[in-house]
Structure formats: C-alpha cells, structure tokens
C-alpha cells in the first residue's frame, strides 16, 4: 500500500503527522511518534509572547524590593548570563533532528515582525526542515478593520519567507469574511502550505468561583467538518499544500480529509487522549480501509471529493446547508 504523500516539498511516508502539542516537548515523545509511524512531527510552538513575559517577569523580580532596606539591598544572586531567548527551543530542534529521521517542523508564534523573522531564521539554523507559523491572534480592537487583520497575516508571511529558505506553512483560523480570498492571498504571498484550522482559545466560566477559566478543549471528531469543508473548497484553487488539523481522531477522518484534498492530516487531541500509539491504529485501519475499498495509494484519493471533483459542487455551499436544515427532525 502506498501511503506516501508530499507536503512542503517533502515526500512523507504517510499523511499522518502529529501536530504541535506538549507531546513533542520531550525527545522521548518525538521518538515514540516516529516509532508509531508519524511521517513528520510538528514541534510544540515557541511563543514569543512567553519569552517576552518571562524576561519582564525576571526583570521585575530581580529588581522588586531592591535598594530599599539597608540589610537587604537585593534578594537574588544575579548570574552573569541568563538564557532568555529561544535557546531552549532551538536546542530542542537540534536534538529532535539528531533523534529521529522523520522531518521536524518547528512551530512559531510571534508577536513582533522582528520576532517572527529572527526566530524563524534561528529555527532554520537549528536544523528545522520547515516552519509552521502559528498565527494565533484574536483581534478585539473595534477600530481594527478586517483588511488590516488580513494584511497582518500577509505581512508576517512575507517577512518570514524573505528571512528563510526552508518551506513555510501557515496555520490559521477559519474566522475570515472570505476564507477563500484569504487563502488565495496567502498562496500568492508564497505560503508553502496552509494548515487548516487553528483551534482558538475559547474560555469557560466557573459558576462556583465566578471566574473565567482558560479551559482548553480537546477537539472532537465533529471538529473535522470545518477543515473538511474548506479544504474541499480550496483544493485545486490554490497552489499551496494543505494540512488538515482539528478533529482527526480515526482513520475515517483521515480518509475523508485526504479525499477533499489534504496533503497531510494532523493528529493531536486523539494522541493526547489515547496515547501516541494510537497513530499505529489509525495507520492500520487506514490501510485496511484502502485495501477493502481497493485503493492503491493515498495520492489516488487526494482531492477526489473536493468541490471541484464531486458531482454536486453545491454540496459544499449554502444551498446544501438549507436542504440539510430541512431534512433535520428532532428525535
């Protein structure tokens, strides 16, 4: 069975790629992913915001209370050197590259243009095979227009593309007025792949404490409908590769996403819930399904059910939504 696929200019042994998660924070986790058949690995994200916050925090705590009281002019020893940049992350990239043979994709969440470019360059220097830009912002300023928000994505991509030579993927959310237009703009700006979609932070409320809780929800299989829709629509309309992420839990999900046109399918929540070895199960069932249904290769099915290739193109659009509503009857 030929499971190979291409993504970011690389030929991967299968379309199964673990996406950025805490599972890749330890080398052991990355090794186990490779053993379980991962075709590549996206490392957990380097957050520029976190680095900045850590630096400010350190500065605050090293200066707070100092030079006030005669007996305690300081409260901490001050080493001559601090590792306050991305050194730890870059070292992780280096070690991951040494530890596994599969491609290692570094993930970056920046907050400043300088941060995006300099960290991307350092990731490339550390040996990353590609970079996934995790553009994780929630625009809340009522004075910021949609055009400005969109332009920011394009600017970041431009900046990073001009700073590195390795392929660059862009992970983004679905919340654009016209996702298709946004995808086209990013495609034109040189994105080597779009990773669809980021799962944005959605807080919860604790009724007992009346506090907003930063509760991270793991994806459910239903979440794959959104990438399925948009990959299906975008397939064949943009040059960039597409990675499907969100809601990939079983082989069936992988199959569906490949059929609408995904180059790779990214797994996260399922591995967090069931363990890294679940990758083997997905791959085994993927093969079984393909054998049962007489498919020879992944490439054969990729895009076979995209909007362009299905019999009823409107099934991806609103007209079909209306009919689906009509057919809905409560149990």
């Amino acid at each position: 069975m030929d499971l190979t696929t291409s993504y970011l200019g690389m030929t991967l042994r299968s379309p199964l790629v673990p996406s950025a998660s805490p599972l890749s924070a330890e080398l052991d986790g990355i090794r186990r992913m490779e053993d379980a058949g991962a075709a590549a690995v996206v490392l957990y994200s380097l957050f520029e915001e976190q680095l900045v916050r850590d630096r400010r925090e350190l500065y605050h705590h090293l200066t707070a209370g100092t030079e006030s009281f005669a007996e305690a002019l300081t409260y901490f020893p001050e080493p001559s050197e601090f590792h306050l940049g991305p050194e730890g992350y870059l070292e992780h990239v280096r070690k991951a590259k040494e530890a596994v043979a599969i491609p290692v994709i570094a993930s970056l969440n920046g907050t400043s243009v300088g941060g995006w470019t300099s960290y991307a360059r350092q990731m490339q220097d550390a040996g990353a095979d590609a970079i996934e830009l995790n553009v994780y912002t929630i625009p809340t300023d009522p004075n910021e227009t949609a055009a400005q928000v969109e332009q920011a994505y394009v600017d970041i991509l431009h900046a990073v593309k001009s700073a590195v030579t390795i392929p660059v993927a862009l992970k983004l959310g679905p919340f654009f007025s016209n996702m298709a237009s946004m995808a086209r703009r990013l495609d034109e700006a040189g994105a080597d792949a779009l990773v669809l979609f980021n799962r944005f932070y959605q807080p919860d409320i604790d009724l007992e404490t009346l506090e907003v809780r930063p509760h991270v929800l793991l994806s459910t299989p239903q979440a794959m409908r959104l990438p399925l829709t948009w990959i299906g629509i975008l397939h064949g309309r943009i040059r960039a590769d597409m990675a499907a992420t969100s809601g990939v839990h079983e082989a069936e999900d992988v199959l569906k996403l490949l059929m609408v046109g995904a180059n790779v399918t990214m797994v996260c929540s399922a591995l967090l819930q069931r363990g890294i070895d679940h990758l083997r199960t997905i791959e085994r069932r993927l093969c079984e399904w393909m054998e049962t249904h007489d498919y020879r290769s992944v490439r054969q099915m990729q895009g076979s059910m995209s909007q362009r290739n299905v019999a009823d193109a409107s099934a991806f659009e609103r007209a079909h939504y209306v009919s689906s509503l009509h057919s809905y009857r409560p149990a």
Binding site: R56, L58, L62, T63, G65, T66, S68, F69, P77, H83
Partner: protein
C-alpha cells in the same frame, strides 16, 4: 568592558563599594571561603559565592570553594579546620558574628595560623541592636591575638585586603582586616583595582608552601590542640612573642613593597599635618578621611594641627607610634569609635596613653615632655563625624584643661561629656559637585544614582563618591542618596549638608521631609510632579516655597511616572530621573550623557532581554521633552502647611522622643531623652501615619458575607472588624459603613469592617482572598482597592470613630471559627514589614488570641526589625493596658531566651502559690482555693482569674506582712501567661537550632512560632536549611542541591512536642486550630508557618495563592502532631492536607526563586525539578504511612 578604563600598568578603574573591593581581593587569594550572612558584611560573601558560581578563578588558577555555615561560630570552626589542613582560607563577618568567632580566633592565633578575617565593623547589640558602623565588634576581638589592620576608604579596603593576606603568610599571625560598616563597606567610590599580577607579586608563594607544610596530614602526622597543665601552659603562651614583635616591621615592609609596585604608600601610623603641630588627633577608620580634610582646612588657616591615623592597631607598635608624632605636640586627643562602659578609657586611648608613657621612658620619638592626652568617643552606630565636629574638637584642644572622656557629635546633657561645635562650619570645596536625592526604594532611585556614579567615575576624569541612606522600614522605604564628584580624590566621609542639587523623586516627601535646608543658594531643585510647570508652584507647601525663594533656587519639574508608564517601566522612574539629573547638572555634554546612560542601560539590563533595554531607552528618549524649568516667583504665597510628624494627642514620650525620630531629627535628641536601659513604650506605630498606599481597600457591606478572611490575612492589621450594639452608631461620620451582623449569636448587633487608611500599605492581599463577589459586576468583591488620596480624610474620620466603638467582650467571641475570631483586637498593628508580608498575619493572629497575656522572645531577623526597630513598634496594648511584652535578645539564643521566660514565670507562679497557700487563712480560703485551682483554659476562665487576682491584691494591700508584700510582687503570675518564641528559619533551622532542639526537648510550656520564609529574609535572601531543593537563593546561586530539612519530623521524634505545620493561604481554619491547640498544650509546641516572602520573587498581592499551590502540590504538608492523642491511644499525627493534586512544577514555576534557574542553568533546573518531585512523592508516602499507623 567599555566603562572600565585601564590604567597604564594593566589595572582597571572601577566604581564599586568597599565590600566588593575587599571581596575582589579575598576571592582571588583564597581557596576556601566559609561564610554566614550578617549586615553589613553579607555582600562580601555574596560576591564570593557568585564569583565561584561563575567559575571565576583565583590568582593561582583554581575556583575557590565557598561554603555557607549554620552560624558565624560554625564558619569560624570551618575556617580553623581548613587552615589546619593547609588551605588558604578566609571569612567575612561583623558585629555579633565576630563575637561568635572569638573562641576560634584565640585558637587560630594561638596556633600561629595565617588567615585574614575581613570585618565590616559594626555596633554590638547592647541597650539596642544597631546594624550600623563603629568599632565595638573589632575592639571586642582585640585580645584574641589577631593582628588588626584598619582601612579608612574604599581604595584602602582593597589595598589592605591584599596587604593583610601577604602579611599574614609572612608573619604567621592571623589578621583581622576591618573597615567601617556602611560608611566604607557600602560607599561607592572610584578606585583602582589591583591586578592579579599585583596580588601574585605581593604574596610570596614560598610562604604558601610553608603554610601547607605545617598542615595536619597523615603523611607527616603531628598533634595540635593539646590540653596543657600548669607546668607549661604559661611558658607555651609566651612562645609567640617574637612573632608579634616582628609583625609591625614585616607589615610595613609589605606596605613599602606595595607602594613601590602600586604607587600608594601607607604607614602603620601615618601622620598628616603641620610639622610643628601643637594639637594632634589620633583615630582610625573612615573618620580619618574627614579629619584629613579638616586638618587641611585648618592648616590653610594657619593653625598648627595634625592627624595621626592608626592603621595597624594590633600588634600595637609603641615605638612607631611615638616616632610618628611631631615633637611639638602639646595636646593629643585620641578618638575611639566604641564604648567600653566602666573602663578607665576606650581601647585606643589607653594604648596611646601607655605608648606615650613608654616612649618617654625609653626615649623614643621626638617628644620630650608628656603632652596632655584626652580620649573621647565618636560615631557610634554610624553617627556622623563631620569637619564641623572635628574643628570643634581642635578648637577645644586649645584650652588649658581639655575635657577627657568626651563625646563628639551628640548632646550629652546627662553626663555632660559632649563637646560643643558649630554645625554651620563647612569645608565642602567649590570644585566638588554635591547632589542629594530623595526617593523610594521601589522607584529605583538608588540604582539610578549608583549608575550615575559609575558613569561619572568611569566615563569622565572626575572622582566620584556615592553613599546611600536606607530606611529601616521595609514597606514604603525612603532612600536618600548622597553623590559627590569632582576633579580631586574625595575624602568626605560624611553626608552632604551643602548640596548644589536636590532631587525629590516623590511628591509626598514635600510634606514629610525638609529637603531644602541643605540646598546652597542658587542651587537646583528637581521635583517629580504630576503637576506641570504652570500648576506646580501653588501646590508646594509654604515652607518649600519660602526656601526656594530665599535661596534663589532653580526649580525643575518632570512627571516621571507618566514618562515611566508610557515607556512600559511601571513605577520605576530611575532612568527618567537619571536623565533629568544629567540634563540639568551639565556634568557631561547632553549627548555624551545620553549615550553614556544608554550604554550603561545596555550593560546593566542587557542580560535580561531586549525588551528591558528597549523600555529604558524609550524612557531616556521621552524624558527631555517632559522636563520643564519653573520660574520661581519673588515671594512665597502658598497656603499648604507641613503637618506635624505625630498628632497632638499622642503621648508625651511619642511627642518628645518618637516624633523627632520620625521627622528625621533623631540626631538632635539629647542623651536625657532616651531610656537608659533600652526600655520603650509599646503601641507607638499607630502615631506614625505614613500614608504610603496609593490605593486602599474599601468595604462593600452589600456584598460582604462576614467571613473575616480579609482581616485575617491583612499583614499590617489595617482591616479591623467590630461587632457592636446599634446605638454605638450615634454620631457616626456620614460615610461610616455598617450592616447587621449575620452570625446568629450576634443577632441584633451591627457589624463594620473598617480600614485604617493612613496605615495601609496597599498590598491588596485582602482583596485577593475575599471570596464574595458582586453579583452584577464580578470584578468587584466585598472589598476593593480604591485610590487613597480622596478617601484619606473621610476614612480617617471613620477610622477614628471606629476606634471609639468598644471591642466586643472576649467572652462573647467563639474563637474556633475565623468569622467570629477575627473580631478580636490585634495587639500587633501597622508594622514596617514589607507590603504583603507573609509572616505578620501569623503574629497578629497570636496577639488576637493570646496578646493580653503574651510574653514574646523574638529572634533577630525580619520580625525583630519590623517589630522593634525604632522609632516605633507595632506591638501594642488593649484598652486595659494589657498586651504583649516583647524583647529581642540575639539571633542564636532565642529559644533559650524564651525558655528563660518560662522558667522565671513558673518559678514566680509556684512561689506565689506557695505564699498564697500560707496566707489563705487571712485572704479567705475560698478565694485562695479558687485562685489555686483555676484551670484557666479559656477566655472566661482567665477573665475570672484576673478578677480573683485583683481581689487578692486588694486584700494583700491591707495585710502588713512580709509574705503579703512578697505575694503582691508576684501575684500577677497567678494569671496564666503565654510564652511565645518567635523567629525565622535562619534562626530555627540554622543558627538557633541547637537551642531550639533543647528547649523543645525540655517539655516546658513554650510556644514556638517559626515563620518559615525558607531563606534569611532580613539579610536579603540567603539560603538556610529550610530552603527547598531547587530554589535559587544567595549562597545557592546554582539552585539548592540538598532537600529542605524536616524540622517538624525532628520535633515529632520526641513524642512530647506538639507540632503543627500550617499555611494560612491554604487552610486558614487549620492555622487557627493549630494556634489554639499549640497554646493550650501544656508542654512545648512548635508551629512551622509557611510565610511567603518578597525574597521568593512572587506577586505579593496574590501570595496566598502561592501558599495554596504549595499545599496542593504536596510541597508543604499541613499536619498536627498532638502528644495527647497518643496518650488516648490515637495516632498523634493528623495529616491535614490531601494527597498532592498538582505536580510540584506548577507550584515551583509560580515563583522566581525556582523559575530563574530555568533561565540561568536550564539543565540543572530540570534535574532539580525532578528531584523536588521525588521529594514530594517520598514525603507524602512517609507521612501518609505515619498518619495511617494505628497506635497501641
């Protein structure tokens, strides 16, 4: 390094303080350094530890081993051992620390062992403790046999550190190298740093080999440390004489060699002045610098005066001393910076008297007749020694019979020892620019000034000096920086009293301090003001206006907070004010100054990330546009008056003694104003209204659930609760708030939570713990932080009214639950602890519960400073005049000190009972029986017993017998007294552990409250054995490798000690229960209380959450071990915290003390984190097992 220039011979020029100067040499010429923190010497140990952590090598290429011991006694023992086994070894200490080393010092000297002890000389605790500088400590060590070498400036401190190390090896005498605490140890000055080559050239390596050859070794075994009999001890003691005889010559030879190489020449006794001087002053230490200046000024006026500076005090070379004196000397004044009560004179004076006598007898020196010799004391505890005082002395020496045993610089109206002087006399030269800056510790003023001094010292040809006066308050600490710079070396070892430039970095100071009295006519006043150039004048207090007008001063304003905030710097205005200073003073061309400041910012903050540098750069760039000169009108027209330091209703002592201290005029108090035995009234903190909070909590009765938690956690006792009859509300101010008391037992009563607006520090910890939320706006709680200034007056009225409402009778309060217990009046209020302090809520709780019968032994440390540092004390009294009696003995002996209280009280109580039994017939059997059999187990019992004892005393008054009078003297002891021994972990885990262990084992009824901050907090966060594994602390820069000592387990091992481990922020009811059980238990009790601390690197507002996280992670177990349970056949150990719920990482990385290791040594951090988790797991298993065990 760009800002450190090199001299022609490879030495660097640096602007550093005395401690760093000494440590720099000590670390480079030693192999083993044994340390223990004590002010003002701690930074020497910290530097050494940091350099070793940075793998900095000594001049022979190895990294010295730096180890912290459990006490100075321990450090001295380790030094002795390391020396005996051949290592070059040193230590740093001061004050009582040096005293603890004395036993070993006799041994080290007796065995002719080369070493140097570097001492930042400091006062000794006598009638009171003082951290400041004088020679009391070193003089107490003068009989040990150590050579004693005194340096008097930062440069000399570095030079003499090197000379002492060279001399000790050659003379074989151990050296005590000392310099004045703070004045030299903390003065920042531009000096030439000795190079490694200098040190190698100075120290003969052959002598090091000889030292090693004498070491104990099984390869050439010897016996040292024998016990000797009367037959030989005396002779053996005399064997060392030749070494002492040779020491001065050798030391001078080394000084000469030093001069030949380095260019700075020193003499053992150094004379400066007229060759034909008739009046000569002898002294040593930093005051010699001021005396040098004064002599120069008087010489210029044609006076025949001189100064003899003593450098090598021991061995005292009599011949050299008299030979250094001019033959013309007619009057000699010897100044001692120490006091030896009851002596014939202070040590240096006595030595000089003897030297003159011996000199004349032997015909040494030029003197042919004995001069008049007088001795005097000066400068105790860093009391200023100024040219004005010294001139006063020189003037006085003209009289026929000058006063002997005089004092200088104070007004002694009791024994009339003090010499008069003209305080207006000044010799500050015009060529020296002098600036004084008033700031808050938190605004970064001192840091900025240290930076400015470095810039001026290292980027210009100027000499520079910085000296910083700090507050003894930890919250809202005020700092005063004194900066001098000029083209000539600066010898002015005293504060600036004639300033060209005064910077006021806090608007609030205008109403509190007289900052302008030191400003010279035509000088400049820079004010950080929210008011702009057009509005500021009208807002200035009248006295400030008057001084500005009278002095034709230049006035500049800047809204520094605005600039700092917009630059992302928050409340740190350091950079902004520094830029203003350079822009106005013109000490450097503006562009050069800006460039130098930016360079300095990069150097200082570069290792903390680009953002920090960028923020500071932004502040630099924004400042100049916001700096305005204000035209000073021709006359003052303001209406704002400076308020008095304490209100007029304060008691007389507070008015007359405390108030001048508060106002910064304590130097003016005469001897007669001060208690002779160190006894001060309690209840004085309430008179000092500091108004340091920008925001204060405001109560919302509509939301409040009356849980009492806000009052419980308030570190400064500013949140009070009262429950009272409704009629008490009559006459309440219009904004006074109350609601119905919710508690069923208090039905019909009113309930008020009131904040003391002028005493609050604004920490906000009360708001953080408040569990009640406003149902319409959940960001609001039942208590909310609100800007203080508009509330100050109305809330002051409310507070004063609140105070008039009587306390609820203690019998009506069920103390087992916080909601009721917290209405108890705290007898510990408004301390000077840090805002958000984690220790004080526990102390306050103890005073609420037991304060009216509490006697407290308090170990030296944070709690003794915020509890007993003048001018005021937070320990206070209730309306009946009862309250905690408090004392601090020492650091190391606190358990024994408190144990002494118990012994004394028990003895007196037993004596009283005995007398009462004997007098029962005359007193009345019923009353006597009732008193003798009273259990006094709760408030009601104690109340009744007090009544009974009052009745007894009344009856005793009517009985004319010796026994009755004796009983009257001890009758109060028949009411139960609660003995509390309070201290921190540095005391309980380290220096005082032996005593604590002994007292706990004694089984006597004492209550030990161990405030565990897991570091030596008061001296700046040094590691103790309570420091948890993986925490970064001073002396554990690479993260502490060893786990925390389990003190509770050690105490439990006796089986007779009540032990509780508590964390108020995790389980406040458990804390309350533990305090009640501990006090009720008739044997020894130990409460180990988790106390968050500024030294943890945490947000102090949410610090109670850290306590909870520590418990949730299993890092801090809550338990109670009650011996009575064992007696009942139950397991005495009750584990009160559940199994760990979160990984220890979640707790640890909330705190900079753990987190910063991930930034400095990430691999070690990972390893230690795992070890810390293993500790948690193992501890939990062990305690779970112990708590599950069935007894019997």
């Amino acid at each position: 390094m760009p800002s450190v220039s090199m001299t022609s011979v490879g030495r660097t020029i640096a602007t550093i303080d005395g401690n760093e100067a000494v440590a720099s040499v000590a670390h480079r010429v030693n192999e083993v350094i044994a340390i223990y923190p004590i002010t003002p010497s701690s930074p020497m140990g910290e530097w050494a530890d940091q350099w070793t952590a940075d793998k900095r090598r000594n001049v022979w290429g190895t990294v010295p081993s730096v180890v912290e011991l459990q006490s100075e006694g321990g450090a001295a023992g380790a030094v002795h051992g390391a020396l005996q086994s051949g290592a070059l070894t040193t230590t740093f200490t001061a004050s009582q620390g040096l005293l603890l080393m004395i036993p070993n010092m006799y041994k080290i000297a007796g065995e002719l062992t080369p070493t140097v002890f570097h001492v930042a000389a400091r006062s000794l605790a006598a009638q009171g403790l003082s951290i400041f500088g004088d020679h009391s400590d070193v003089m107490a060590a003068r009989a040990t046999g150590f050579a004693m070498l005194c340096s008097s400036s930062v440069q000399e401190a570095m030079d003499f550190a090197a000379i002492a190390h060279a001399a000790t090896l050659e003379t074989r005498l151990p050296f005590l190298h000392f310099f004045d605490g703070f004045r030299t140890s903390h003065e920042v000055a531009k000096i030439e740093v000795l190079s490694d080559d200098d040190l190698r050239a100075l120290i003969d390596e052959g002598l090091i080999l000889e030292h090693r050859g004498r070491a104990l070794s099984p390869d050439h075994p010897v016996l040292r440390g024998t016990a000797q009999n009367p037959d030989v001890y005396f002779q053996a003691r005399e064997t060392v004489n030749p070494y002492y005889a040779a020491c001065p010559e050798i030391t001078q030879k080394i000084m000469d060699a030093f001069a030949a190489r380095v260019g700075r020449a020193y003499r053992l006794f150094e004379y400066h002045g007229a060759a034909d001087a008739d009046r000569v002053v002898v002294l040593m230490g930093s005051a010699a610098e001021a005396a040098h200046e004064t002599v120069d000024a008087l010489l210029a006026r044609g006076e025949k005066v001189g100064l003899l500076r003593v450098r090598l005090f021991r061995p005292f070379d009599v011949r050299r001393f008299v030979e250094a004196l001019p033959a013309s000397t007619r009057t000699l004044a010897i100044l001692d910076r120490t006091k030896e009560p009851g002596s014939a004179g202070e040590p240096l004076y006595l030595d000089c008297v003897n030297a003159i006598h011996e000199g004349l007898t032997n015909g040494w020196g030029g003197l042919t007749t004995a001069p008049r010799i007088v001795g005097g004391r000066y400068g105790l505890a860093s009391k200023e020694v100024t040219p004005a005082m010294l001139k006063g002395l020189f003037d006085h020496l003209r009289v026929e019979r000058p006063q002997n045993h005089f004092t200088l610089g104070i007004n002694d109206d009791v024994s009339h020892t003090s010499l008069a002087y003209d305080p207006e006399f000044s010799i500050e030269p015009d060529r020296v620019i002098r600036s004084v800056f008033y700031g808050l510790g938190s605004d970064g003023t001192v840091g900025a000034n240290k930076n400015s001094i470095k810039i001026i010292g290292e980027d210009t040809g100027n000499y520079a000096q910085g000296y910083f006066v700090y507050d003894s308050k930890k919250a809202g600490a005020v700092t005063v920086s004194h900066l001098r710079f000029g083209p000539d070396p600066i010898r002015s070892s005293y504060l600036i009293t004639r300033a060209n430039f005064v910077g006021c970095h806090q608007w609030g100071f205008l109403e509190r301090y007289d900052m302008l009295s030191s400003l010279v006519p035509g000088g400049t006043f820079l004010l950080n003001s929210a008011y702009g150039p057009d509005d500021v004048w009208a807002r200035l207090p009248r006295t400030v206006q008057e001084q500005l007008v009278a002095k034709h001063a230049k006035l500049y304003v800047i809204d520094a907070y605005q600039v700092a905030r917009t630059s992302g710097m928050g409340g740190r205005i350091n950079t902004v004010m520094q830029v203003c200073f350079f822009a106005i003073s013109g000490v450097l061309p503006k562009d050069d100054a800006i460039a130098a400041i930016k360079q300095s910012i990069t150097k200082t903050y570069g290792n903390k990330g680009d953002e920090v540098v960028r923020m500071n750069f932004e502040a630099v760039d924004r400042t100049l546009a916001q700096l305005f000169e204000v035209r000073v009108p021709e006359r003052a027209d303001g209406t704002i008056a400076m308020p008095p330091p304490v209100p007029p209703e304060a008691p007389r002592f507070v008015q007359e003694v405390t108030a001048p201290m508060i106002a910064g005029r304590g130097d003016e108090l005469p001897v007669s104003a001060l208690p002779a035995d160190g006894t001060y009234p309690t209840g004085t903190a309430k008179w000092e209204k500091r108004n340091i909070a920008a925001e204060i909590p405001v109560w919302d009765p509509d939301v409040c659930i009356e849980c009492g938690k806000c009052a419980m956690v308030c570190p400064h006792s500013v949140i009070r609760i009262k429950v009272y009859e409704p009629e008490r509300l009559a006459g309440a101010p219009p904004t006074f708030k109350s609601c119905d008391a919710r508690d069923r037992e208090w039905q019909g009563l009113k309930y008020t939570i009131q904040v003391a607006p002028e005493d609050c520090t604004g920490c906000g910890i009360c708001v953080d713990v408040c569990p009640a939320k406003n149902k319409s706006q959940t960001r609001l709680k039942a208590i909310n932080m609100t800007p203080q200034p508009p509330l100050r007056e109305p809330e002051r009225d409310n507070w004063n009214f609140f105070l008039t409402i009587p306390e609820l009778s203690r019998q009506r309060v069920k103390i087992g639950t916080i909601r009721q217990q917290q209405v108890q009046e705290p007898l510990f209020e408004f301390s000077s602890a840090c805002a958000g302090c984690g220790e004080t809520p526990y102390i306050k709780l103890a005073t609420q519960l037991f304060g009216d019968r509490m006697i407290v032994a308090n170990a030296t440390g944070c709690s003794s400073i915020y509890g007993g540092n003048l001018p005021t004390t937070p320990w206070t009294q209730n309306a009946d005049g009862r309250g905690p009696a408090w004392s601090n003995s020492l650091f190391e002996d606190n358990a024994e000190f408190g144990f002494g209280f118990r012994l004394s009280i028990d003895y007196q109580r037993a004596f009283a009972s005995e007398l009462l039994r004997g007098l029962a017939g005359r007193i009345g059997d019923d009353l006597a029986h009732a008193i003798l059999t009273a259990e006094q187990k709760d408030e009601a019992d104690i109340f009744e017993q007090r009544d009974r004892v009052a009745a007894l005393k009344e009856k005793l008054g009517a009985i004319d017998s010796v026994e009755a009078r004796r009983l009257l003297g001890v009758a109060d002891m028949l009411v139960k007294k609660s003995v509390w021994i309070i201290g921190g972990d540095g005391w309980g885990y380290d220096i005082g552990f032996g005593g604590l262990d002994h007292v706990l084992a004694s089984g006597r009824d004492v209550n030990v409250l161990l405030l565990d901050t897991e570091v030596y907090s008061n001296t700046g966060g040094q590691m103790s054995k309570a420091t948890p594994r993986g925490a970064v602390a001073k002396f554990a820069a690479g993260g502490k490798e060893a786990p925390k000592k389990d003190l509770g387990m050690i105490a439990m091992s006796y089986g007779t000690v009540y032990v509780a481990r508590v964390a108020m922020g995790a389980k406040d009811e458990h804390t309350l229960k533990s305090f009640l059980e501990a006090e009720a238990y008739p044997g020894a009790s130990l409460i180990i209380a988790y106390s968050h601390c500024i030294a943890h690197g945490i947000n102090m507002t949410t610090a109670m959450q850290n306590q909870k996280a520590a418990v949730d992670a299993g890092q801090w177990l809550l338990y109670r071990y009650h011996p009575d349970r064992a007696a009942r056949g139950e397991n005495p150990l009750q584990l009160d915290s559940p199994a760990p719920k979160i990984p220890v990482e979640r707790f640890m990385y909330l705190e900079n003390r753990f987190k910063m290791l991930t930034k400095s040594q990430p691999e070690d951090a990972k390893r230690l984190l795992q070890a810390a988790q293993d500790d948690v797991d193992a501890r939990w298993k062990l305690y779970e097992h112990l708590a599950a065990k069935r007894e019997g």
